[in-house]
Structure formats: structure tokens, C-alpha cells
């Protein structure tokens, strides 16, 4: 009987070591090419793929809302900038505050570059807090970019007499009723973080079913004020300022106050924050707003197609016709490239455990000031 040849132990050890290294490094190895933000692509190969196909923008909200309308505007223009000029349509998959759409594109739908997700960037903060139901990793998405950028802002009814945040701080500060949804929404988190970091005497009234019911409640004097994005104040909530100014904006979440006549008495929350920890919390809570109306594809989409989609996305946002249509909605065009978006996502999702704990503590449900 012939003896089998013994395996070279050096070769075996090296093989095992390399295998272990590959398994351990697999996520980063798989992700690395996408995250290198390749910008060049083989136009002919990409065109051959997309020709005759349909690209679907999966929107995480029902038709008619801001996200839906912006996506339909993008769909109107995007196709002509993708090589092969595919048809671009919108598919609404509402649910879970847009988490359903994000989960679908990340896990289920074809990862060949024909599905783009548009979901609320607030989901990234929820991923950072470890919220259940989030079945994606925001860092692994390939980010095409975002359309707009905003900052949180808090406003109170003029007839409350509140014109400056100092009137709501300290022992003589007045308690004001601020409307909110459930914890986890942008409105609620902005209100909570302002209270936690600046010591504002906000009594948060939870449970309203969205920005509109909160705004109604302020209009009929059930509430004293609310916090939302500055972009909302200048667009969908414009009737609160023109022709008659009913609200005073007292604070914005960022490091400086935008130059606008409605912000005469507003303070920049980060400038007023008492310490660096408070400033970090304010930055993190506002970070999702810096990525308003974001667009992503799944991590496994081939790099060439990701690069071509990024290029097409940038050109769409630079298209004057798109800009005109967007202006009609009152949404400011402040685009971010895929690279910039990924950097912001990394800031949100790279929090240390103690920072996450501080964030959760600041944002947890607490009625009184």
C-alpha cells in the first residue's frame, strides 16, 4: 500500500492563517472597494447594463409627502444622466418611519444597481442607539448623496412673549409646553436635546401624530411651541410667518445662525452649549438633518455602476430644471456628494459606547423640564 505524502506543515499553517485572516477581514475586504469612492467607470459596460432596464427609487414614505415628491423630481431627471438612459420610476414602500424601504434595499431587492433607497436619515441615529427593526448598516450602504441640508430649530408663539432662550433657563425661567411625537422622531429628539444640553424649561408633550398636528396645536394655543427643521419653517410652515408672523424662532441646533429675517433673536445652540460633551450631543442629533433626502444603493452593487449612479446623481442635482422644480417646493438645494454623505454617516455611527449612553439618556422620554 502506498503511503500518502505528508502535508508540508509550513504550507498548512500559512493556509490556515490566511484563511483566518480572510474570514476576519471579510466585511472590510468586501466593503473596501465600494468605500474607496471610485469615480471612474467604464461607460460602455455600464450603458450596456442599464440599456432597456428600469431603475427604481424605493421611497420609504407614502405618496405625496416631501420625500416622495423630491424622489419623483429626481426620477424625472436622473435617467438621462445614467449611461444607457434607463427608465427611472418611484416605488413607495412606507412603513416604520422608512426603515422598511432601507431594509428592503439592503437585504432583499436585487443588488445590481437597479434599486436605490430613499429613507429618512433619522434612521441612522436610531441605528446608533441600537433600535430594534433596523436591519441595515448605514456605513455599508453606498451613498450616492443627498439633496438638501438643514438644521433643527425651535420656535414659540409670539403671544407667549418668549423672544429669547434666556427666558426659559434658570430658576426664573418659564416652563413652556412643546409639542412632540414619540421618542425617536426628529422633532422629539431636537426638543429633548435642546432641553438636555441648554437646560431649557421645555415641558415635552408627547404623542402628536406628526408635524402638522403639532403646528395646529400651536396655532390654537394648546401648545406654546415646537422644534422641527429650519427648512420646514421656510417651506411647509411658511404660513406661520407670512403674512403675519405668529412664531418667534428662538434657537437653531447648529454652530451659527443662518442669515434670515425670521432668525433675528435666535441663538446657535452649539455656541450656547456649556461644554464639549453637550456640543457633541447637539452635533450628533443634528447630523441626520445634514443629510436631508439621502439616496443609497446596497453595498454589493458593482463599483462601476455605483460610480455611474453617483455621477448621474451629481449631474441631476446640478441640472437647472431640477433646481427650478425643487425651489417651487421651498426646499433649499444644498447637495452633498456620496463621499460627504458617507463621512457624516461615519460620524453618527462611530460613537463610543459612553457617548451612545449619554445620547440615550438625553433623548429618553421625560415630560417635565
Amino acid at each position: 500500500m502506498m503511503k500518502s505524502k505528508p502535508v508540508n506543515p509550513v504550507f498548512l499553517s500559512a493556509f490556515i492563517l490566511v484563511s483566518l485572516l480572510m474570514v476576519w477581514a471579510r466585511p472590510s475586504v468586501m466593503a473596501a472597494p465600494a468605500k474607496q469612492f471610485q469615480r471612474s467607470f467604464d461607460e460602455k459596460a455600464v450603458a450596456d447594463f442599464y440599456r432597456g432596464k428600469t431603475v427604481t427609487i424605493v421611497v420609504g414614505f407614502a405618496p405625496g409627502g416631501g420625500y416622495d415628491i423630491v424622489s419623483r423630481l429626481i426620477a424625472k431627471h436622473l435617467g438621462k444622466y445614467i449611461p444607457g438612459r434607463p427608465n427611472v420610476i418611484v416605488d413607495n414602500r412606507p412603513g416604520g418611519g422608512s426603515v422598511v424601504a432601507a431594509n428592503l434595499v439592503y437585504n432583499v431587492l436585487r443588488k445590481d444597481g437597479t434599486f436605490i433607497a430613499n429613507f429618512h436619515s433619522q434612521m441612522l441615529l436610531q441605528q446608533a442607539e441600537g433600535r430594534e427593526g433596523i436591519e441595515f448598516d448605514g456605513r455599508r450602504f453606498d451613498w450616492l448623496g443627498s439633496v438638501s441640508s438643514s438644521v433643527g430649530a425651535c420656535a414659540l408663539r409670539r403671544d407667549t412673549g418668549m423672544t429669547h432662550v434666556k427666558q426659559m433657563i434658570g430658576p426664573s425661567g418659564r416652563v413652556v409646553n412643546m409639542g412632540a411625537e414619540a421618542p425617536g422622531s426628529g422633532i422629539t429628539d431636537t426638543t429633548a436635546i435642546m432641553r438636555a444640553t441648554l437646560g431649557l424649561k421645555f415641558r415635552i408633550i408627547y404623542g402628536y401624530d406628526g408635524q402638522r398636528p403639532i403646528a395646529n396645536a400651536v396655532l390654537n394655543r394648546e401648545l406654546d411651541g415646537f422644534c422641527t427643521s429650519w427648512e420646514s419653517f421656510v417651506s411647509t410652515l411658511k404660513s406661520f410667518f407670512e403674512p403675519v408672523q405668529l412664531l418667534n424662532v428662538v434657537a437653531v441646533l447648529g454652530s451659527s445662525v443662518p442669515d434670515h429675517p425670521w432668525l433675528k433673536n435666535a441663538v446657535a445652540a452649539e455656541a450656547m452649549a456649556p461644554n464639549e460633551d453637550a456640543r457633541s450631543l447637539l452635533k450628533i442629533v443634528n447630523a441626520p438633518r445634514r443629510l436631508s433626502y439621502p439616496y443609497v444603493v446596497a453595498p454589493e452593487v458593482p463599483n462601476d455602476r455605483v460610480a455611474s449612479l453617483r455621477d448621474a446623481f451629481d449631474k441631476t442635482l446640478a441640472d437647472p430644471a431640477f433646481s427650478v422644480d425643487l425651489t417651487k417646493l421651498g426646499i433649499p438645494l444644498e447637495p452633498r456628494t456620496g463621499e460627504e454623505a458617507a463621512q457624516i454617516v461615519n460620524e453618527i455611527l462611530s460613537l463610543k459606547p459612553e457617548a451612545v449612553a449619554a445620547l440615550k439618556e438625553a433623548l429618553k422620554r421625560k415630560e417635565g423640564p
Binding site: G64, I69, R93, V100, A182, Y208, S239
Partner: protein, 502 residues
Amino acid sequence: MIEALVSSLLNVFTYPTFPFLLIGILIGFVIGILPGIGGLVTLALMLPFTFDMKPVAAFAFLLGMLSVTATTGDLTSILFGIPGESIAAATIVDGHPMAKKGEAGRAMAAALMSSLLGAIAGAIVLAASIPVVAPLVLTFKSPEFFALALVGITFVASLSGKSKLKGMLSAGLGFVLAMVGLDPQSGMPRYTMGIPQLWDGVGLVPVTVGLFAIPEVVDLWVKGTSIAERGSESLRGVWQGVKDTFIYWGVTLRCSMIGTFIGIIPGLGAGVSQWVAYAHAVQSSADKSRFGMGDVRGVLGPGAANNSSLGGALIPTIAFGVPGSPTMAILLGAFLIQGLVPGPDMLTKHLDLTFAFVWLIVISNLITVALCFLFLNQLAKITCVRGALLIPGILLLVLLGGYAESNSILDMGITLLFGFIGLLMVYLDWPRPPLILGLVLGKLVERNFFISYQLHGSGFLFRPMVIVILLIGVAALFLPVLQAFLSKRLGLKEEVFVSKED
């Protein structure tokens, strides 16, 4: 003012406004008939097309669609027992039994005429009330919404048929269903079984479509006949339906006012007003025995209310930019796109546009009703087609309808599940409308209760308007008992207490 009224009417018939109005009507006609695919979603899909339109043309396109969906939705509810629109579900309760008795033409004619009159009533109130509606709209806050939603529960008794206990339990089941989703106070998932699609709750459309449509389909299959068990009546039935609207003018008018009033209150809308109107039609009748089995008043009430709600909902939308319903929230997007700011400008600078809305609602309903009457007899003949030929198409529409709300396969499953539940309820003689009402009102009751409690503590129950609303509810609840008691004790005829037309 008169000049603005006249000039806006003439404007509606100019080019391109009138063609866009006709296109909107055509779209609304089809969408209303197709179950599940609602006016809300269609409005949102039509919105981007209005970017390049002038304001009157844009609103002609949108309001033309919106004005007719409730009308044609009633037709599907009557013919097939499937709600063509979720706001046309109440029409099924008496409309479909009328179709089964061979009175489809009468039911449809009654629905059309009451819809037209309801729409006109809503439009008139819209035109007359914008300058004065502000105090009314601003009076209603969370405690008052809580009270209104609670009073809505008192109408459950009217929807319960013979067994009030079963009705209350059915409404209770609806309340439990309303709790599925994220807790509005803490954001924690409740009864979602780890499914993110359920974070927003169980969809009203799949539940409604499943609960009402599938039992009817099974019934049709088991019977083996056509929908109309005794053959369809002739054209005479159609004219009878028209006459019914005027014979029972009190019900029609009162339910129009109910729909308009509920439409004005932000957060409510035609989904609630149709049931309140139906309950009022029942409660105000001396002879309640025919309700649920094909009483034409059960068609007139919801038909009037679900159309008048549009005019009512436009009032706070135009006057303050406060949407009176989810549909109005989308219409506000149209305002934005057109560069219009709701508020005082709509009553001064853009008064002609505001009056154009009034005319658009009236004219689109007139055109739709006229068109429907042309084909009414042919539509009624569908009820004579063998059920085996209709069932596949109806089932397809039912499942598509369930799917279309959120493009979700889960919703199709919910449709089937509630179809099964609906079958059980029919078999065990449990009323289904209270379950829907519980599902709609449960969320309102919970949200507004907790908001009111946070703001006012238990003292919110002692606010004057809350007390008035609750007393109205108590009165409505005990009115039938009081009527019966007084008629026995005083030997008075019960008809003394109800509308003369009975």
C-alpha cells in the same frame, strides 16, 4: 364678491382649465370604482404633474379627481359589496343588500343624488364660511377631539343591529387593533411581532376591503347565482332612487351638514363622517328594522356625508393651511408648488381662486352624476351576471386593493386574514361596521387622551366644550330608550320623536 363668484365660474370653462377638469374627473371616476386604490394615493401621484400648470388648471385637475372618487366609490360598494374607497364603506351596509334585492339601480341613483347634494352643500358652506370659520376650528383642541372620538363610540349602538353587546365587543376588537404599532407616547412597538411594516399600525384599507368584500365573494360563490337574487328592476328603480333623495330630504340635508362639519375639524374626515352619518340616519328613523337589510336611507346618509366632507375639509386648509384631512395635507403640497400661501390672501388677493374651488367641486360632481346616470342601467345589469364570472375579477381587485395602500404583500395577507374574520362575523351574526369604527377612532381616542392628560391632568374632562360634547353623546345613546319610555308612559306614537318623512 359677486364679481369674483361670476368670474371664477367663467374661468372654470376656459382652456386649459376645463380639459384638465375633465381629465381629473375621468381619473377620479376610474380610481373611485377600483377598490383600495384611493383618492389619497392618486392625488399624490398627480401632484408632480401640476408643476408646470397655472393655479386654476392645477386645482381643476386635482379637485376634479378628488370630487368624484367618493361618488363612484359608492357604486362599487353597492354593486359588489367592496368599498371602492375606504370613505365609501358605510354605503355597503344597506347599499349592497339593496343590490341583492334587485334594487341596484335605485341604490346607485340614491347614492349619486345624495352625493351631488352633499357636494353642493359642502361647497356652499365652503363659500359662505371661510371668513367666519376661524373661531370654530381653533376651538377644537385635544380634549375636544377626545370627546368627539368618544361620542363616536356611542354611535356603535346604532351600527350594531339587534345585538348591542356584540356591537360593543366588535368595536372593542377594533380598539385593540388600533393599538398595533408604535406606542405614540414611548415609541415602543406594540403587538408588531417584530415586523417593521406594522410599526405604522394595521392598514385601514386592507382591513375594510377584507372584512366586507371577501364574505360577499364567498356568499356569491356559495349561492351560485348572480348578485341580484331576484333579478334587477327596470329604469323605474333609478327614478325611484332620485325621488328617494327628495322624499328623505331631511336625512340627506342633515347628513350633508354632518359631513361638512366633521370635515372642518382637522384630524377627522370622511372616514369618520360616513359612519356618523349612517348612525344618524338610523337613530333618526322610527322604523329601524330595515337598516342593514336594504334601507335606502342607509345609502343616502353616507352618500351625502362622504361628499360634503371635501368642502368641509377645504375650509381650514384654505383659511389657515391647516389640513382638514390627510387628503388635504397632500393638497397643501399643491399650494406650495403653485406658490400660494393659505390664509388671508386666499380671501383677498386670491378670492377668485377660492371661489373657483367651490365651482370646481360643484361642476365636477354635476358632470360625474350626469355621466353615471347615462350608464346606470347598464351598471345595474352587472348584478344579473352569473357570480362565477364575476368572482375572479372581484377577488383580483380585492387583493390588489389591499396591496395598493402600502405596496405591501403583508397587507394582502391582512386582507385575507380579515376576510376570514369577516366570514366568521357574518356566520356568528356579529356586526362588522363597529370594528371599523373602533379601528378608526381607537387611535384618535388614545392619542388625544394622553395628550390631554399631559396638558391638563384629569381636569380636561371638565372643559365646557368637552362637557357639551359628552352630553350630546349621552343624549344620543339614551334617546332611543327615552323615546320608548315616553311613548309607553304617555301613549304617544314613537313617530312624534322622529323625522316626518318616516
